[in-house]
């Protein structure tokens, strides 16, 4: 156990920052050199990107998670070419095309607000907060399609612990980078930039909630929200905010971007719920990317056993 911790929590920040070329960066980003020990402890991670490019995966000795699903994973290609990331355009292919302008180093995340020890974390420091795990989660978009993605990340709770939330902290507000130079989509006024999302503190601390830094054993591609993003698998995808620069503990519920844009259509909770339709389309079914026919959508995206208690006694028609 100790050895495992040492390996997975031992990145080489200096190498990461200094790396010049893309491929070189990917090589250096590997979390441990493939020593015999490392190999013995290694969780085999599938990394199509790495394979195609003749490189090893960025992350090798990831901790497996009991929360992972065994369902068939969405292909790496589809997961990285079909994205909603309006900061780079509204068509599904825009993020893959345009996100190259995003600079993911240097990168910091300010964790502030109702916290005893607020501070700014460097991204390379965040990579060491807690052993990185592979979490294979279902992702359900509010547009009635879904994927299964093997994320690489760590529980958000681990980060929150470091800043010691005060008794006043009831909610967590997340903010994406705001820089129209890097994010051309922000030049349009379609949404009120920067993108803001929020969770109740108990949702944020829930063990299913993670900050992801990778997928398929590789560093998070830019179009997927590099270098660090939220994953809340029982909520619609838009809650899982990308390219985070600020996390603020608050007493009042944050006003999220989509609530501002269309309050009738998007609520604060946005829990996946087949019985509560989007005002303009049904949420009863979804199309798993790669399938032709739709399948029934599961309550809380199939994570009811873990999260239903968070909402007991609440009218989910009202708190959608």
């Amino acid at each position: 156990m100790l050895i495992k911790r040492a390996f997975s929590g031992d990145p080489k920040p200096s190498e990461i920052t200094d790396a010049k070329s893309y491929a070189a960066r990917r090589c250096f980003l590997k979390f441990s050199c493939a020593t015999a020990m490392g190999a013995a402890l290694m969780l085999p991670t599938e990394s199509p990107w790495a394979e195609e490019n003749g490189l090893a995966a960025d992350f090798n000795n990831l901790k497996a998670s009991p929360f992972s699903t065994t369902e068939e994973k969405t292909s790496f290609r589809d997961a990285t070419r079909y994205n909603n990331f309006y900061e780079f355009g509204t068509a599904k292919g825009d993020p893959e095309r345009n996100a190259h302008t995003l600079r993911v180093r240097p990168w910091t995340v300010a964790v502030e607000g109702e916290a005893g020890k607020p501070r700014i974390f460097d991204i390379d420091e965040l990579l060491k907060i807690s052993p990185l795990e592979e979490r294979i989660y279902r992702l359900r978009c509010v547009e009635a399609w879904s994927m299964v993605i093997p994320w690489v990340g760590f529980p958000l709770a681990e980060l929150l612990k470091r800043v010691e939330p005060t008794g006043n902290a009831k909610f967590v507000e997340f903010t994406t980078l705001h820089d129209p130079e890097q994010m051309p989509g922000q030049r349009s006024t379609m949404l009120d930039w920067p993108y803001v999302e929020g969770l109740r503190l108990d949702e944020a601390r829930h063990p299913l909630t993670i900050l992801a830094v990778g997928l398929y054993g590789n560093v998070l591609p830019k179009q997927n929200g590099a270098p660090i993003r939220l994953i809340v698998p029982w909520k619609y995808g838009f809650k899982s905010i990308k390219s985070i620069v600020r996390i603020r503990l608050t007493e009042e519920p944050p006003l999220t971007t989509w609530m501002k844009a269309a309050p009738r259509e998007y609520g604060f909770y946005a829990n996946v719920n087949p019985e509560v339709d989007h005002p303009r389309w049904s949420q009863a079914k979804e199309r798993r990317i790669g399938d032709f026919l739709k399948r029934p959508t599961l309550m809380f995206n199939g994570y009811g056993e873990q999260v239903a208690h968070l909402y007991s006694g609440m009218d989910l028609q009202k708190y959608f």
Binding site: R77, D78, R81, Y82, Y86, T90, K92, G93, E143, W145, M190, L191, A261, A262, R280, W281, S282, R287, I289, G290, F292, L293, K294
Partner: protein, 229 residues
């Protein structure tokens, strides 16, 4: 100038050749779908592409009458039926994709969708109105209905176009650029129709000249009616 004069009238064989070209050209969007990479969500690509082309061909057919007025190329109107029927053809494919892949023949769910979702209601409305226009697009039907009634009926095309644009507007999540363009173009087409004074007189509606004004989109109908009052 001389060229323009030449283009004003085309010989029948030339028009037939042109019709064939248009007929084949209208199949290009479908052919592309057959060979192109449909992306991560092929069903969505099919739905969107067929929906777009249903609307595109509808708009092109609506543009023919103003274009004919503007250019003086009288034969343009003889291409209208082909283009307009292709709008119906792509609308059928569009609906087919929805029935098979979105709903998998769950008719109860489809009826619920039509009743409950304004964007589906609008699309369905457009589709239902397209059906009688397609059925009455043949020469025989035009003759049977009589030019005047036929044109009356085919005014519905404007309603179809308007509800088609609303269908598109109501389904987008946030970025209304696409439907906004269509709305703008539709405004342009409608004003072109309003502004071009009809030169057609009562006599123009006899059977002989009908063959040159046939088409699913009753382009001149509104103006003809006005002119007669």
């Amino acid at each position: 100038m001389k060229q323009a004069l030449k283009l004003k009238h085309l010989s029948n064989p030339a028009i037939h050749r042109l019709k064939l070209v248009v007929f084949l050209a209208c199949l290009i969007p479908l052919a592309r779908l057959a060979v192109a990479d449909l992306g991560a969500d092929p069903v969505d690509t099919l739905t969107r592409s067929t929906g777009r082309w249903a609307l595109n061909f509808l708009f092109i057919s609506l543009a023919i009458t103003p274009l004919r007025k503007f250019t003086g190329w009288l034969w343009l109107v003889r291409l209208r039926r082909t283009v307009a029927l292709y709008s119906f053809f792509y609308a059928c494919l569009h609906l087919g994709v929805y029935v098979v892949f979105d709903q998998f023949f769950d008719w109860a769910a489809i009826v619920r969708d039509i009743a409950k979702r304004p964007y589906i209601t609008a699309g369905f409305f457009s589709f239902v109105l397209l059906v009688p226009l397609a059925i009455t697009s043949t020469n025989g039907m035009i003759r049977r209905l009589g030019g005047r009634r036929w044109q009356h009926l085919h005014r519905l095309v404007y309603l179809i176009a308007i509800s088609g644009v609303f269908h598109y507007l109501w389904l987008v999540k946030r970025d209304i650029t696409g439907p906004a363009w269509y709305a703008l173009i539709l405004c342009g087409l409608l004003s072109a129709r309003m502004l071009t004074r009809p030169r057609v007189r009562t006599g123009a509606l006899d059977k002989g000249s009908m063959s040159s004004t046939i088409g699913v989109s009753g382009g001149t109908s509104m103006m003809v009616e006005r002119g007669r009052e």
